[in-house]
C-alpha cells in the first residue's frame, strides 16, 4: 500500500504548499484526487515520485511510505524501481524521439522485459503501434497522452500516478482515456488519478479525496462524493436545479468554509 502521512511540503524554503496531507492508495484500486488549481495535487504527486527536487521543493514533515517503508528521501530513479511511476501533467513526451524510442526510455529501469512490456503497451494502445516509427512530436494530442501513459507502463509499475490525463482532450477522447485507465487497472496496476474532470474521475474511482489549499478536506468513497451536494455544485457544476437562487448561495466561499474549519 502506498500511504502518505501528515505530509508537509515547502517550495523555495518559504512557500508552504502541502499542510499535513494524509492519503492511502490501496493495492488494486483506482483512487481519485480532486481539487481546484493550486490546491497542491501535483505537488503531492511530486512528493510521492521524488520529483520535488527539480522544483526546489522539500518534504519538511510527514512521510510517504510504500508497504511501510519510507520512500520520500529516495531519488526518482529508486522510486521508479520500487514500482511507483508518475505520468506528468501535459503529456511531456520526448517530441524529437520516435514513438518506439519514447517507449524504450520508459523501460529504462526494466531493460530485461522490454519485449513483453512493448507488446502489452501496443495491445493497449493500437494507435501507437501504427505510428511506432514516427516522430512523437507529430502525434495528435490524444495519441501523445496515450504515448505518455504507455511510456510509464513500460517499466510495469505497481502504482501509476496520473496527473490530469484528460487535459486538453475532446470529450470522446476523455472517455477513451477513462476506459484505458480502467483497463490498466484491471491488468493489475493501482492508479492514483489526479483530475479536474471530476465526473470522469469519480466514475471510475472507488475512493476519492478532495484537496483544497494544501489540505485534504474530504475523504469518501467515490459514490458518496458523487452524491455530495457541495461536490455536485463546486466540481460537477450541477447546482440544485429549479430552486430559487439568491446571491447568498452564489458566495461559494461561505459554504466552503464548512469543511475548511
Amino acid at each position: 500500500m502506498l500511504a502518505v502521512r501528515n505530509l508537509e511540503v515547502v517550495y523555495n524554503d518559504v512557500i508552504l504548499v502541502l499542510r499535513g496531507v494524509s492519503l492511502d492508495v490501496a493495492d488494486g484500486k483506482i483512487v481519485a484526487l480532486l481539487g481546484a488549481n493550486g490546491a497542491g495535487k501535483t505537488t503531492l504527486l511530486r512528493a510521492i515520485s521524488g520529483l520535488l527536487d527539480v522544483h526546489d521543493g522539500e518534504v519538511t514533515k510527514g512521510s510517504v511510505t510504500l508497504d511501510g517503508e519510507p520512500i520520500h528521501r529516495h531519488n526518482p530513479a529508486k522510486i521508479v524501481r520500487l514500482g511507483v511511476k508518475q505520468v506528468l501533467e501535459g503529456r511531456r513526451i520526448f517530441a524529437e524521439l520516435s514513438v518506439d524510442e519514447n517507449l524504450r526510455t520508459g523501460a529504462h529501469t526494466n531493460a530485461k522485459h522490454v519485449r513483453e512490456n512493448l507488446d502489452r503497451v501496443y495491445s493497449l494502445f493500437p494507435v501507437l503501434k501504427e505510428r511506432h516509427k514516427g516522430t512523437a512530436g507529430y502525434l495528435s494530442g490524444g495519441e501523445q497522452q496515450m504515448l505518455a501513459m504507455g511510456r510509464a507502463l513500460m517499466s510495469n509499475p505497481r502504482y501509476l500516478l496520473l496527473d490530469e490525463p484528460s487535459l486538453g482532450l475532446a470529450p470522446l477522447l476523455v472517455q477513451q482515456v477513462r476506459d484505458l485507465i480502467v483497463e490498466i487497472n484491471k491488468q493489475g496496476t493501482t492508479v492514483l488519478l489526479v483530475e479536474q474532470n471530476a465526473t470522469m474521475a469519480l466514475s471510475v474511482a472507488e475512493h476519492g479525496y478532495v484537496m483544497e489549499t494544501g489540505k485534504i478536506v474530504m475523504d469518501r468513497p467515490a459514490k458518496e462524493l458523487l452524491d455530495d451536494s457541495d461536490i455536485r455544485e463546486f466540481y460537477l457544476g450541477l447546482g440544485a436545479e429549479g430552486t430559487a437562487k439568491s446571491f447568498r448561495d452564489v458566495k461559494h466561499y461561505k459554504r466552503r468554509k464548512r469543511w475548511l474549519s
Binding site: S49, G50, L51, V54, N75, P76, A77, I79, V80, R81, K85, Q86, V87, L88, R92, I93, F94, A95, E96, L97, E101, R104, T105, G106, H108, T109, A111, T135, G137, Y138, L139, S140, R151, A152, S155
Partner: protein, 295 residues
Amino acid sequence: MKELLSSTLAGLGQGSVYALLALGFVIIYKSMRVISFAQPALMLAGAVLVSYLVGPFGFIIAVILGVVGIALLGLGLERTVIRPMVGKPVFVVAIITLGIDIALRVVINGFIGTDVRQVGDPWGFSRVSLLGVTVQERYIAMFLTTAVVITVLFAFFKYTRLGLATRAASYDQETALAQGISVSTVFAMAWAIAGGLAAIAGTFVATGVGVDQQLWIIALKALPAIILGGLDSLGGAVVGGLTIGVVESLIATYQSDFAPWLGDNFSVVSPYVVMLLVLLVKPYGLFGTKEVERV
C-alpha cells in the same frame, strides 16, 4: 588538380580532429545546455598524458590509457566542480569551465616545460601516395580513426539504453527523471565522453609537430565548427569540423596565389570568417535542430 586533392585530403584529416573536439562541445551542450570551455585544457592534457605514457607502453596503448585517463579527469571535474552548480544560470557554469580551463592549463604547462614533447606516433611527417596524390600518413590516420570513433558514438546514442537515456534527458530532464533515468549519470557520462574525445584529438594534433604550451589554441577552432553545424547537432559538429578543416587547408594552399593582399597566414583566421558568414545567413547553424511542432 593533384595539389587540390592533396590539400583537400589534408584538410579532411585536420578537420576530423576539429570534428572530435566539436563533438565534445556538442555532447556537453546537449546534456547540460552549457558550453564547456574546458575542452582546450582537456585536449592539451590528453596530448601530454600520451607523451608521458608512450615511453613505457608504446603508442597504441598510450593512446588508449590517455583516453581513459582524460575521460576520468572529465568525470572528476564534473563531479567536483560542475555538479554543485547544476541549476545555476548557464552563464555562471560557462565561466566556471573557463576557470577550469585556465587552471588546468597552468598545471599541465608545468609538465610540458619549455621543450616540445613528442607523442611518439608512428607517422611523423612521412608521406604516402594515394592514386598519385601525395598526402601525409598522419592525416589519413586522423580521418580513419575519427570515422571509427564517430560511428561508435552515433551507434551508442541511437541503439543503447544509456544513449537513449542521454537523448531523452537532453530533451526534458524532469520527464527523464520520471522515467527513472538518472540525470546525474547522464551528465557524468557526457563529460567523460567529451574528455575521451579531447584526448584523441589532442594526440592527433600533436602527431608530427609535438606538444608545446600553445597547442590548446587549436581546440578553439572547434567553436567555429560547432557554430557552423548548429550547437545541438552531433552530425552538424562532424560536418562543421570537416568543413572548417578543408576550408582552412585550401586557403593555406591557394591564398598566396589568388589573394596575396590578405597577407601571410590568413588561413589561421579563415575558420572564424567562415563562421561569421554562416551566422549571417543561418543564425542557428546549418544543422541546428528545428523545433518539432505539430501544425
